[in-house]
Symmetry: D2
Subunit: 365 residues, 4 copies
C-alpha cells in the first residue's frame, strides 16, 4: 500500500506547523502508509476564512452557444445511450468537468424537427427554461407540456420524461440540473424508459396545468405536500404579469420590490410554498431601465440567463456587458451587481435550498 | 482561451454517440474553445444507474493509528495556524485528500498533558467520540465539557471551541466533521478565537448538561427549536443503559430492536427530535454475541468505529475482522453486514441528514 | 357557598354508579359545597362513544333569508357599535345563540348603496363568499377588494377591514367566522378603527391579487410563510375553470376527481399550501347532473351554501331539496350525501383545521 | 318552529343599534321564525375588546378535597360505567359543569387497595400528576407505569389504559384532561376495554421509560415523530434535578431562569421537542424563598397545583395564600403573580398548544 498510496505529504510551513526534521519525515511516511493526512498541512485549503470557490465567474455568449448547438444538431444524433443533445457549460475553474458551478449543471439542449429525445428518469432534479422558440413538448409521466418563450418547466427527480419536436423547426432551450451535486454526493440513480415518448400530442396546456394552474386552488384529490412542485409549467404570461404589477405597485407607492426598480418572483411549489425543487431555487428578475442593484453575495452559486434587454453585470472583480441569451455564473460568496441598460429581464437558478435546509445559508453585501 | 482551455473532449463510442469525423472534431474543438462539454460523452460517468462512489470500503486499525498519533504528540506542536493535532483518514479512492468519504471527515486527535488546542469557530459541524481515555475538556462557548470513554460530544457549526488537557496523561479521541461536504459546496467560514481556552475548569458536567440533560424536560428559557442540539455531551452511562434495556426488552418479547440481537439508538436534538447536527447523523449500535445483521445499503456514506468487542464486518465485497478502536468506511449504496463475535458495540456517523432533507434518501438490501 | 353553588348533583343510576343513600347524599352535598362534580354522574354526557353534537342538521332558505336582510336594510343602520348589518344562522340545537355550529358563525350581510361598514379588527378569522350581486369593496388594511358573484374573500384575524358600497344597488353576501370557537376558548380581541373606510376606490383587482394572484409565483419580498393567506380574493373565473378542467380530465380518463362526477378544490394559502385560515377550511364542490356522492362523515362541522343548480342533500336522517343560495349545516360526525339534479355547485366551510392541527381529525363513512 | 324557536331577540341599545319600533319588532320576530340572530344585538358579548372569560379565578384546598375523595372511596365503587372515582373541579363561572376552565378538566382520583379502574380509551388527551403517595400503576396499552410523588404521567388520546392498586393503602392523584374542549368541539370518541387491567405487574420503571428515558437518545425503531410523547413517565428526580441546577446555574451567573429566583421546565415530547400532548401544555415551576414573579397574562387558561412550600398567589384581583396540594385556576387573559414564602414548587397545565397551533396565542403583562 505504501507505494501505491494516494497520500503524499510534505511538511507545512509557518506558525502552528512543525519544522521539517528526519523524524517528522518518518512520521509523514507513516501517515502515508496508513492512508492518513494531518489537518495541520491542509487546514488553509480546507477551512478558509470564507468560501473560496474553485469555480470562477464566467460568461457564455448566446451568440456563440446557439451556433454550436445548431452544428451539433447536424452531426450528433439524439438517441438511447447519449440520451440528449445537451451541451453543458464547463466552469473554467472546475477542471474541465461539465459543471457550471460545483453543484449545478447548465446546458443548451437542441432538438431537430421530428426528433424524440428518449424517455428516462433519474434522481437529479431538473428544469427547462426557454429563452426563445417553441415547438417542443416535454412529456413528463405521459403528460405533454408545451415549451414556449419565457416558460419555466420544473421537473423533479425520478419522473419519467422525454421530449418531442413535432414542428418543422428545430428548438433550443436551457436545461438546469443538480448533476454535480448529486455526483459529488453519490446520490445518483438512472433508469431507461422507452426510446420514443409515450405520446406525440401537442396540447396547449398540460394536464398538470389544467389541474394545478390556479392561484391558491388545490384539487381535493391532491392534499399531501409533495417534495417538488406538481405544476409542470410556469407560463411566461403569468411571470411577466407578476413583474409588471410589482413595478406598477412600486410606482403607486407600495414597498413590494426588492429595491427600487427591481422586481422579482420566485417559482414555488404550490403544495408547500417552498422552492419548486428540493435542491434548486429558480427566480425571475426584472430591472427597470437604468436600475443598478446593490452588491449582494451569498453562500451557494447561481447561474443567470439574460431573457431580454441589455445591461452590465459585475461578479466579484469581473464586469461584462450582457444581452439576450447570455449565461453567467456567480460562484459562492462572490458579490453580484446587475445594471440595466434599456431594461433587463433575467432568469436565475441557484443551489440555495441545499444550504437553507442544512442551516448553511448566509448572506452579505 | 483555446490553448489554455481546461476542457478536452474526445469522441464517445457506442450506441447513442456520434461517429468520429473531421466535422465532429471541429465541433468538439469549438466546444472546447467555448468551455462547453456535451452530455453524450459524459453521461455514463455522471449519471450511473446507481451511486458509483469513488470512495472505497476501507478499514483503519486503531493499533496502527494510535501509535502514529502518539508520535505526532512528540513531534508536532498544537497551536494557532495548525489549530489541532488531528490526523485524518484519507479514503484511498479520493485522490489523497483527507476525506474518509466524499462528505465526511474522520480524524484521530491527540492532546498532551498541559496542552491547549486554541479556540476557533467554523461553519463545519463537528463532534467528538471517545473510544478510550479521559482528561480533556472541550470548551464550547466557554462551557467546559468533560470527555470520557463512550461519550459523544456534538458541536454545531459556528460555535467557539477549544480543548484543554489538565491531566498528566495524553488523550486521543475521534473527530468527525462535514469538511469534505462544505468544502465541495463552498460553504466554509472560519474564524480564530483566543490562543488559550477561556477556562481551564474541569467540572464533571458541563452547564449544557446541567440545563438539558433530563429526558423530555426543557428549560422555559429555551423553547425555540435550534438547528443543532444544545446538549453538548451524551454520556456513555445513558447510551449503555439504553442499549442494555433494548436487549432486555427484546428478551421479554417486545419488538424494540432493529432486528433480533441488534439494539441501536440515534443521538438526537432535544429541541426537535431530529439529528443532533444538520448534516451529520450519529448512532450507536450493539450486537449480542453471535448476531449477524441483514445486509443493508443506503444512499450516503458512513464511518463506523468499533467501541468494544470483536466481530466481522462486510462492506460490499470486502470483509474484515474488527476489534476495539478500528474505523471503517461504508461508501454510498455499498451493502453492509455486521457480525458480532463476543458481542459488538459500534459508533456510527453518516451524512444521511443531507439526503433526507433534500429528498434524496433511499434504502435497499 | 353551598346555597349559591352552581353545582347541583343527583345520584346517577345503572352499572358503575353508587346506590343512593343518605351518606351518598351527604357526600354529594359536600361536593357541591366545594364546587366539585364527580365523573361518574357525568361521563355518559361528557364522553360519548362518538361525537353527539348538540347542533342539529338544519337548512336555511335563501328565499327567506334575503328578504329579511332587505328589511333590515331599511330598518337597521350600519355604524359604529353594531358594526355590521349581519344576520347570523342560529342552529336550533345551540340554545338560541347565533352559532351555525359549535365553532362556526355564518351570516348574511347586507349593505345599502353609499353605505360604509366601519373599520375594525378582531382576532376572529373571517371570510366572505358572494352568491349573487356585486358592487361592494372590502377594504383590508387599506387595500380595496372587489366582491363579485362566486368570489371567495378570506380575511385572517387581526387585520383592519371595512366595506363600502359605491353603487346604486344594495348587495348581500355571506360572512363566515370562527366566532363561536374563539368565544368558547376565550381568545377574542377586538379593536375599533375609523368609522369610514380608508379609501372608496373601486379597482377591479386588489393590490393583494396583483401581488399574489399567479399560480406558484411568489414575490421575493414575501418569502416567509404566513399563518393565513396573503391573497385576499379567489376569483370565480379561476374556481370555475379549475372545476371544469377536473371534470374534463375525468372524462379523458384521469383520476383527478373525488369520486365520479364530483370535482372539488380547496382554497389554500400560497405561502404554505395549507388552509387559507388557521381555523377555517374552505372548499368548492361541483357535481355533474345526476351524481350522488358516497355518504361521508368527519369530526368537525360544516356549513354549505348552494351556489348554483338544484339537488338533494341528506345530513344524518334529514333530507332536503336545495337550490341557489340555500345554506345548510352538517354537525360533527353526521353523515352527508349530496345528490345533483341539474348539476350542483356548492361552497363549503368547516372547522377542520382545528382538528387536524390538534390531532383530533377522523373520517368515516 | 316559531313558537318553539330557541331564538329570542330584544332590541339592543346604544350607538350603532336601531331604535325599537313596531317594524323592528316585526323584523325580529321574522328573524326568530327563521332561526336568525343579528350581530348588532350580540356583538358586545361575542366580540369583547379582550377575552372576558366566564370562568373565574378559584382556589380548591387540598385539605378539603382529599377528605371528600376518601369518603367517596368508602361509598362509591369503581367499575364499568362510572369508570373512575374521579371528582372534578367545577369552575363557579361555568354553570355547574365539571370544567375547571372552558377547555380543561382537573380532578382528584382515588383508588382503594386491591382496586382496578377498568380499561378504556378515549380521544381526550390526559395526564396524571402525583402530589403525594404511591402504589398505583397506570397500565397504558399493557405497559404498567408506577406513580410516585412528583411524577408526571402523560397519556395521549386513544390509548387503552386502566389503573391498579396492589398496595394496602389508598392513593389519590390529579387527572388533567381536555374534556371540556373536546366536548365543546364535538370531537369525542370513547371505547370500553376489559374490566380488569391487562397486568398487575408492579415494575419500578415502565417499558416506555426503559425505551425512551435517556436525554437525546432515540431508539432506531421509533424514528417517526408522534403527535404525543411516547415517554409515559417524567420522574420527580429528573424534574427536581433540572430545577435545582437551573437555580444553581443562575447563582453562578448564567441567565437560565425565567426571572431571578424562578426556575421552570416544560415537559416535552422527545420525538418533536414540542408539548407532551397536542392540546395540553405542562410545566413545573420553582420559586426560591422570597421570590415574587412579574405579573403575566396570556390567552388560554391554566390550572396550577402547589407541589410544595407555601406562598401567595394573585390571579386578577384575587389573592390567596397557598400550600401543598392546593389547586387554582387562571382564566384566559387574567394576570398571574406568584410569591414564594418558604419556597414554592408548582405544577401547571394549560391549553396553550391549542392557541399556538391555531395562531391565537398572545401574551401580556
Amino acid at each position: 500500500m505504501t507505494i501505491d498510496s494516494p497520500v503524499r505529504l510534505s511538511a507545512g510551513e509557518g506558525p502552528g506547523h512543525p519544522e521539517r526534521t528526519p523524524r517528522l519525515d518518518t512520521l509523514y511516511r507513516g501517515f502515508e502508509a496508513e492512508l492518513l493526512v494531518p489537518l495541520w498541512t491542509e487546514i488553509g485549503e480546507l477551512m478558509p476564512a470564507q468560501p473560496a470557490s474553485k469555480a470562477v465567474p464566467h460568461l457564455w455568449r448566446w451568440r456563440n452557444l446557439l451556433p454550436l448547438a445548431e452544428q451539433a444538431g447536424g452531426l450528433v444524433p439524439v438517441g438511447r445511450g447519449g440520451e440528449r443533445r445537451a451541451i453543458a457549460l464547463a466552469n473554467p475553474g472546475l477542471g474541465g468537468r461539465p459543471f457550471a458551478t460545483p453543484t449545478l449543471w447548465a446546458a443548451i439542449q437542441y432538438l431537430n424537427p421530428a426528433e424524440d429525445a428518449p424517455v428516462h428518469r433519474h434522481t437529479q432534479n431538473a428544469f427547462r427554461f426557454v429563452v426563445e422558440g417553441e415547438g417542443v413538448w416535454t412529456v413528463v409521466d405521459g403528460d405533454p407540456v408545451a415549451m414556449r418563450r419565457g416558460d419555466f418547466l420544473p421537473q423533479a427527480g425520478w419522473h419519467w420524461h422525454g421530449h418531442h419536436n413535432r414542428t418543422d423547426r428545430p428548438m433550443a432551450w436551457i436545461d438546469g440540473l443538480d448533476i454535480p451535486f448529486q455526483y459529488a454526493a453519490d446520490a445518483t440513480f438512472f433508469e431507461f424508459g422507452p426510446d420514443e415518448v409515450e405520446t406525440h400530442e401537442t396540447p396547449e396546456y398540460s394536464r398538470s396545468e389544467r389541474l394545478w394552474g390556479y392561484p391558491g386552488l388545490r384539487p381535493l384529490t391532491h392534499l399531501r405536500p409533495t417534495p417538488a412542485t406538481p405544476l409542470l409549467a410556469y407560463r411566461w404570461e403569468q411571470t411577466d404579469r407578476a413583474l409588471t404589477e410589482q413595478l406598477a405597485l412600486e410606482a403607486e407607492g407600495h414597498a413590494v420590490t426588492v429595491e427600487p426598480g427591481h422586481a422579482a418572483v420566485r417559482y414555488t411549489n404550490p403544495t408547500t410554498g417552498e422552492d419548486v425543487l428540493p435542491t434548486i431555487r429558480t427566480e425571475f428578475h426584472r430591472l427597470r431601465p437604468g436600475t443598478e442593484t446593490a452588491a449582494r453575495r451569498e453562500v451557494g452559486s447561481s447561474v443567470f440567463q439574460v431573457f431580454d434587454g441589455v445591461g452590465e453585470v459585475t461578479v466579484g472583480q469581473t464586469r461584462w456587458p450582457v444581452e439576450r441569451g447570455d449565461l453567467f455564473v456567480v460562484p459562492s460568496w462572490q458579490s453580484l451587481t446587475l445594471a440595466a441598460g434599456t431594461g433587463l429581464d433575467l432568469f436565475r437558478f441557484t443551489d440555495a435550498p441545499i444550504f437553507e435546509r442544512l442551516n448553511l445559508a448566509r448572506k452579505g453585501s
